[in-house]
């Protein structure tokens, strides 16, 4: 059975190879092939899943070693996979949602002449992401880690002819590289500490390592997670990443890749458990990002950017949960999965809206679309309800669990984290309602696009709506399905471990308070955008709004400090290289030439002056000889 694991990755990888090397002759069938390979991967996933369910909870870990990858003395890296419940969850999510989005893209990218390559990239992404979650050691994980980075780079910049897209892609890759630095340093630390970086041995022997070491490793891993999962301070790329085609945003920048950070932390549970300080930092990062994303999400008028802010904030939830330790791991993953459903659904919805509105993204130029695209409206609406945590929908359960866990952390820390999560829930309710109202309610505010075409909103083709419907189902029922009988908990517990913790407040109280903040959030949103008409041009807005529109000045900071600073640095270095380093050498050469020119003058052509030099020379010679004798 375990020999199937490699196939999980091989299928989409093969797909990518075929599609990218296949050339024009595959343009006709490219998208179907791509979808096929994705589906195949999903199929294998399901097969493995059923097999796994068939076995006892403690015997569900499969592992497969392909070959020894880099053997140098103590440094032994294998290409080997490990499939346990955690990986399994991700495999299903990735290949499942992935397949759906492939299908969706068939319709969405219909008119793009480079659609074949698009599917190639998507397959490449799937392969890399699966490698990431299946690797059984950190180095191989690193390969997947950078692989998804590459795929996201290619896909964000898919419309390269737009400079903005190219820039966004570059930015994403660079910011991620900073995170990757963290991961590689973490691996070095692991190697010097344990002499290996394979999950099994490392986790088995964390006990022998000092807490200091573990904290260092954990923090480096966190840095990596921040980069990949767009957590403060490395979040700046996610907003710009929306330059990519919407399916990409849905798959990579909402459902799967951005959640890799969470996977990394949960996977390294053993390490983090040994490093409480690091865990504290994780929770803080999560909390801050949670609010940061939420606030940004409130102010954006670009529907995708608003959703991106929300993604950031939701992942903040997961990271926070993961930071809580055994109390939170399970719920982090659970929220990750449910989020995968509804956020993907929301993005696809947004994509469908743009599809109908000549790729208009400004929500202020939408309005009243519910009549024109009912399916989109319904699916989007369900996703909306799920994310704000409407009772009974999946978001309700997963988020509620995290909030409880936050309180269960105990102590002031618990109170603070709990408060933050609650507040976040409220803001979530606000900005999502805002999106909802701006897009589907109120009166038309449509504007002709640059080419002057009036938009004629229409429902998207089946290939697009069907995935949306399926995802909507997930958004509605997944949470309940997981929660009833604590299925999900029992499923993951063998891998991540679980402890209930002792919450100062009862579950009921938490649920109640979430309901309250939810209502408040929705209410405010309605009062602002539901009651009175919405101006097409955004009002100046409060200071906070303006700050939020500019991502709380985070980009400006980057621009001034890193970009400008860097430019000055390189320019001055170029000067130094030319004038100093090179100048010294050329200077020496020149001085030799000068000396030569001066000595030449002695050769003045007069025989008698030559005689003088001979005479002088003789004198010196004699003097020197005598001197030698004298001393």
């Amino acid at each position: 059975m375990e020999n199937l694991i490699a196939l999980l990755i091989a299928a989409p990888l093969l797909g990518a190879a075929v599609l990218l090397c296949g050339g024009r002759r595959l343009d006709k069938a490219g998208h179907w092939l791509g979808t096929l390979f994705a589906a195949a991967s999903f199929g294998i996933g399901v097969a493995l899943f059923t097999d796994m369910l068939g076995r006892a909870a403690d015997d569900r870990t499969l592992s497969q070693k392909l070959y020894t990858w880099i053997p140098v003395e103590g440094f032994q890296a294998d290409v080997a996979f490990q499939l346990d419940q955690l990986s399994m969850t991700f495999v299903l999510l990735i290949s499942g949602v992935g397949t759906l989005i492939h299908v969706y893209s068939i319709g969405y990218m219909e008119h793009d002449e480079r659609r074949r390559r698009f599917f190639g990239y998507l397959n490449l992404f799937l392969a890399a992401m699966l490698l990431l979650v299946l690797a059984d050691n950190y180095l191989l994980l690193y390969v997947g880690w950078e692989g998804v980075g590459l795929a996201s780079y290619l896909l964000i910049g898919f419309w390269q002819h737009k400079s903005s897209a190219a820039t966004a892609a570059k930015k994403a890759f660079l910011v991620n590289r900073v995170g990757d630095m963290g991961l590689s340093i973490a691996i070095m630390l692991l190697f010097t500490t344990f002499g290996t970086f394979a999950f099994g041995p490392v986790f088995a022997s964390v006990g022998n390592a000092t807490e200091g070491k573990l904290t260092a490793i954990a923090l480096m891993l966190l840095l990596a997670a921040c980069g990949k999962s767009a957590q403060v301070p490395l979040q700046s790329w996610l907003g710009d990443a929306m330059e990519g085609p919407t399916p990409v945003s849905a798959l990579i920048h909402a459902a799967t890749m951005v959640t890799a950070g969470v996977y990394l932390i949960v996977r390294s549970a053993a390490v983090f458990n040994g490093a409480p300080d690091a865990q504290l930092v994780v929770t803080v990062v999560g909390a801050v990002t949670l609010l940061f994303g939420a606030i940004v999400g409130c102010a954006k008028d670009d529907i995708k950017k608003a959703l991106a802010g929300s993604t950031m904030s939701q992942i903040g939830y997961m990271i926070l949960a993961a930071g809580l330790g055994p109390i939170g791991y399970v719920f982090a993953i659970m929220h990750l999965v449910t989020h995968g459903f509804f956020k993907a659904g929301l993005f696809l919805g947004a994509g469908s809206v743009m599809h109908g509105m000549n790729d208009e993204v400004d929500m202020r130029k939408y309005g009243a679309l519910r009549k024109f695209m009912p399916v989109t409206f319904v699916t989007f609406g369900l996703g909306y309800l799920a994310i704000i945590g409407f009772p009974g929908l999946s978001g309700f359960f997963s988020k509620d669990m995290i909030i409880e866990a936050a309180f269960a952390k105990g102590g002031t820390q618990g109170w603070i984290l709990g408060g933050v999560t609650l507040l976040g829930a409220g803001i979530t309710a606000f900005y999502m309602t805002r999106v909802m109202l701006l897009t589907f309610f109120g009166e038309k505010r449509w504007q002709p696009d640059a080419a002057g075409h009036e938009p004629h909103p229409h429902e998207s083709p089946k290939s697009m709506t069907v995935p949306m419907v399926i995802l909507a189902f997930g958004s509605v029922f997944a949470g309940a399905f997981f929660e009833i009988g604590e299925r999900f908990l029992k499923w993951l517990e063998p891998v991540t471990g679980y402890e209930h913790g002792n919450s100062p407040v009862s579950a009921m109280a938490v649920t109640a308070s979430t309901m309250v903040v939810l209502v408040v959030g929705v209410g405010i949103a309605w009062s602002m955008y539901g009651r009175r008409p919405v101006p097409v041009l955004a009002p100046r807005g409060s200071l906070l709004t303006r700050a939020a529109r500019r991502d709380l000045f985070q980009d400006d900071f980057n621009h001034v400090v890193l970009v400008r600073g860097g430019e000055h640095l390189t320019r001055s270095l170029v000067y130094v290289d030319h004038s100093l380093v090179d100048g010294v050498v050329n200077g020496t050469a020149a001085s030799v030439g000068g000396l030569s020119g001066r000595l030449r003058k002695l050769q003045n052509g007069y025989a008698r002056s030559y005689a003088v030099s001979m005479f002088g020379g003789t004198a010196i010679l004699i003097a020197a000889t005598l001197l030698m004798r004298a001393v």
Binding site: R600, K601, Q603, N604, G605, Y606, A607, R608, V612, F615
Partner: protein, 99 residues
Amino acid sequence: MNPVNYLYLAALLFTIGASGVLIRKNAIVLFMCVELMLNACNLAFVAFSRMHGNLDGQIIAFFTMVVAAAEVVVGLAIIVSLFRTRHSASVDDASLMKL
């Protein structure tokens, strides 16, 4: 008289010849100065020969004269041809090649 004095004289003559070479312009004079130096050497040879009581020095002196004569032959040939070309025997005029 102490033979050493002859050596002093030889040294003096040699120096005079040498400085003559350095300060005189006319090739012929210059050349005469060289001859003077050679003669200074001869004097030294003879003096030393006397001091050591063997005849080698004196014989060498004869050789020197022969050689000097040969030098004159060659030297004058060159200087005269130069003079005929340039109508001047000044060595300083012959400075086409420099630097």
